[in-house]
Point group: C2
Chain length 258, copies 2
């Protein structure tokens, strides 16, 4: 049997410890191709590069792994992998991350890690984004390794609904403290934002985004609740943004007459 | 009665004809504040600026309109308007566009115009993104003006479901040819993508995104169908990406044991 073909990407770049760990795990399960941004792309959301050409540069990470740096966004990485590097091959799985920091709740819409996974879903490639709730470079990814491997095995071995992705977040806990896995919905949490305002050396104002994540969603079936209670959260996600329940409520707009 | 406060933004920058038309319409309905990017931001999706400071520069467009250029993305524009420029005020409506080009179907996830509208929805500001299916600088926005004004009036005068936005696309037709308005779901269409590959003056390869929009969704209730039949499409949208129907199908992941 052929080994499955696994595309690995992220938004922190190819030298981040998180993607190194993901490559190590994916290497055990299939043939892997790595395409990651050549600069940090956190918060890039679903940005794509239209007005500029893109570059791909072959790099060496592991002896038996084809690895590329891309000058674009995480979504560009997936598009170039699908349409240029792996044009004539079927990609069996795309994994993105492991992100250094949470992508739970509405963070999915801002996250480069999750947007890469979503772009794979748009291309009907089963895909999973992984994030650890630890922003530090020295974050310990080992405790999550068996979970990540088994989630990837599950996706490779089972029928996967088309145009679907999984958003997996891992609490910052030791192996013994992790309580298991919960399949959840996205919490209705939000950021209370603020901008640090300061003056540059020429006396001109600048603004730097800061903020506090607040969860006012009291549901016990949310990703934020699972994480707060020591579980790894898995949210099945998709990219049809239609608010179906609201279609009828807006029907009055059909009476507009110029 | 106080005039409603309307935030106007886009992704093409403050000098684009589309936003000029939107300002003209919004000026008739309320007090407007304009915050638009200082460089083209098409395809920026839900990108936010984290690693850099942001600038706001006051500019003059109309005598009685407060206008600002922002060094960031469309989403940054909305965040700065909400949290800095209009910090102590209630924004009654956010309008984004008029985009030069379609944002129907899955284009909503790539679009800077729609991501700005979505960020306003995240902040619970009623919001609408407008796009005209004409990429040219000389696009004629006049025929759509009565529709755009009436959609804005409707949103200002009626209860608007929290955390909701409208994605409005306008066909490239004359006033007589436009058939009216249809409230729709997002079509399950996609891009068949390709990259133009070429060599730079130093002989190095580069890649430039190109592609063809294909609609394989045969539904007659979609935005693409409405547009193809001469209607203005209105899709109510939201940003909870949870694939609710799939939560139970993935419950087996809860049995993972390291």
């Amino acid at each position: 049997m052929n080994k499955p073909l696994i595309l690995v990407t992220n938004d922190d770049g190819i030298t981040a410890p998180g993607i190194r760990k993901l490559m190590e795990i994916a290497k055990q399960l299939g043939e892997i191709v790595v395409v990651a941004p050549d600069s940090p792309q956190s918060g890039q959301g679903h940005a794509i590069t239209i007005e500029q050409p893109l570059r791909l540069k072959k790099v060496h990470i592991f002896d038996d792994v084809s690895s590329w740096e891309c000058s674009g966004t995480p979504v560009d990485c997936v598009k170039l992998a699908k349409n240029v590097l792996l044009k004539d091959r079927k990609i069996d799985l795309c994994v993105s991350g492991i992100n250094h920091g949470s992508n739970s709740s509405l963070n999915i819409i801002y996250s480069g890690t999750m947007s890469a996974a979503m772009e794979a879903a748009v291309e009907n490639i089963p895909s999973v984004g992984f994030s650890l709730l630890d922003y530090s470079f020295d974050a310990d990814f080992d405790q999550a390794e068996p979970y990540i491997r088994q989630i990837m095995e599950y996706v490779l071995q089972n029928r996967f609904e088309p145009y679907t992705l999984l958003n997996v977040n891992i609490p910052k806990l030791s192996k013994d403290e992790i309580q298991g896995v919960r399949v959840c919905r996205q919490a209705k949490a939000r950021w209370i934002e603020d901008y640090m305002e300061a003056k540059d050396p020429r006396g001109q104002s600048y603004y730097w985004l800061t903020g506090k994540f607040v969860n006012e969603d009291e549901g016990v079936d949310t990703d934020v609740f699972a994480l707060e209670n020591g579980y790894i959260s898995v949210v099945p996600a998709q990219y049809d943004l239609t608010f179906y329940e609201q279609i009828n409520n807006f029907k009055q707009l059909e009476t507009i007459n110029p």
